[in-house]
Amino acid sequence: MKILVCISHVPDTTSKINFADNDTKFDASGVQFVINPNDEFGLTRAMWFKEKQAAEVTVINVGGPETEPTLRKALAIGADAAIRVNAVATDGFSVAKQLAKVIKDGGYDVIIAGRESIDYNGGMVPGMIAGLTNSNFINNCIGLEIDGNSVKAIREIDGGKETVSTTLPLVIGSQKGLVEESDLRIPNMRGIMMARQKALTVLEPVDANAETTSTKFEKPAVKGAIKLVSPDNLDELINLLHNEAKVI
């Protein structure tokens, strides 16, 4: 079984978000980048398939050379090989087209991508890959078992979960719940050393127009001061929520 895990290189969750060039670009200076958390859950599940079912796991990113440390981290966690498609990731659709090309050429059985990236929050790449490669698609995946060609998965739905069955080739949108938090791995020294020996292949992109273009960013308005209510005067809280905020 060949698994491809799509890795989005995103600012660490604690990052302050700033913009440069007249608010037209994300300002990466001083920002620590990490594997998108939803991808990390997927990668961890892929490691299980590698160890239990001898799956071969490749990680991939569409981006510039600056994303390579993030791919190396995925290799240190245990992926067998990495691919970087050398293109600026401008929008979800063009990224999906780059990924779809690699998937078709590489004959992968299972594609794991995150439900959404925590930077642009597009929530579109996994579904678009599935559409472009004509694979089955399970979003919000919180459980995955594969036996030969058949797949059993659990998916989170509003207010609960559902169990579904399908076949390979498959794309999943992974999220928290797919693995236990305690299963997440921090690369150890040996992993980091081994990662240096593993192949990181750089591929040139195919032509893909940006379907959407980011033109400007804005930060939320600074919030007004909080109104504190004494715990002895909760009627006042109800009054404020009813008459001022009009939410109850």
Binding site: G127, F137, A210, K223
Partner: protein, 319 residues
């Protein structure tokens, strides 16, 4: 040419988001000088859509579509878009719509903007404002394709009533192969889900243990709210994963978010900041949540919450 809006229903009844996206679609149609067509799947009574600006309803009834299936539904919407010659398709930000929209984008070769929070700031070039960086910023994006898909963020636009009437037209699209079979559904019935909720009551590690969630559930029930929790609470197994909200959990865009015993870490706030009004109840006046909320009570949750429940019950009884 009309604007096409996908109005979701569950067991035949429209979800609230259906009326919100219809209201949104009406405004976009006005900007473009055209009408609104709604596509509905197995809805029982479509007359209400007229109130929210829909001019025509394509009502698909087919038992093969009884259960939601992203691929089949996306294909039905695609056929409706082609039939109407639509250039703008509008969907909600429900889990189901977010599941099908990227598939629809591929089918229609359309640019898709998700988490959109206001009507287009310009229709030429077609530009919308969306949230990015998990609510830490807004992004203006231009959709360059001929056909465009907009995913409207929940509770960002609200409901707008007009005095219109929607005509209904039967529509029998061909049905695609599903590829995926639903084996079983495990859903707590009678509970408000976080995605649909106007009000969310959320508990953190300050509540000490799962046995103390009774008061959270009771407060939620008095308010008709959904219950949620912080990440450590679900990691510890006190509450199910589906209740975890924040940057790596579910996003919450409610009208009212009440945080009880939650410190207000940046990852938590990022996921709930799109909520309109935030209330914090925390024993520690230094908790960061007090900088992010609109209203706050410094106090012990085990004293404040039971009292708040009693007072709210009295308030509700008066209403």
């Amino acid at each position: 040419m009309s604007v096409l809006v996908y109005t979701e229903s569950e067991q035949g009844k429209f979800k609230k988001v259906a009326f919100e996206v219809a209201s949104y679609a009406k405004t976009v149609a006005n900007q473009l000088g055209t009408t609104v067509t709604a596509i509905t799947i197995n809805a029982i009574d479509t007359s209400k859509l007229g109130i929210y600006g829909v001019d025509k309803v394509l009502n698909v009834t087919n038992t093969q579509l009884d259960d939601f299936n992203a691929k089949m539904y996306a294909n039905v919407i695609k056929q409706a878009a082609e039939k109407e010659g639509t250039k703008v398709v509008i969907v909600s930000s429900s889990a189901n719509s977010k599941y099908l929209a990227p598939l629809l984008a591929v089918e229609l070769n359309a640019g898709y903007a998700s988490n959109v929070i206001s009507v287009p700031t310009s229709v030429s070039p077609f530009t919308v404002k969306r949230t990015a960086f998990t609510n830490k910023a807004f992004e203006f994006i231009q959709i360059n394709t001929d056909v465009k898909i907009i995913g409207v963020s929940n509770n960002s636009f609200g409901l707008v009533e007009t005095s219109g009437n929607a005509s209904e037209e039967a529509f029998s699209p061909s049905i695609a192969e599903s590829g995926i079979k639903v084996e079983s559904v495990d859903k707590v019935s009678g509970q408000v889900s976080i995605a649909d909720a106007d009000i969310v009551v959320s508990g953190g590690r300050g509540l000490k243990g799962p046995e103390n969630w009774g008061m959270i559930e009771e407060l939620a029930s008095v308010l008709g709210a959904a219950t949620a929790c912080s990440k450590p609470v679900s990691d510890l197994g006190w509450r199910p994963h589906g209740e975890h909200v924040g940057q790596t959990g579910k996003p919450v865009a409610a009208n009212l978010y009440i945080a009880i015993g939650i410190s207000g870490a940046i990852q938590h706030l990022a996921g709930i900041n799109a909520s309109k009004v935030k209330v914090v109840i925390n024993i520690d006046p230094e908790a960061p949540f007090f900088k992010a909320a609109d209203y706050g009570v410094v106090g012990d949750a085990f004293v404040v919450v039971p009292e708040l429940i009693e007072k709210l019950k009295a308030f509700k009884a008066q209403q």
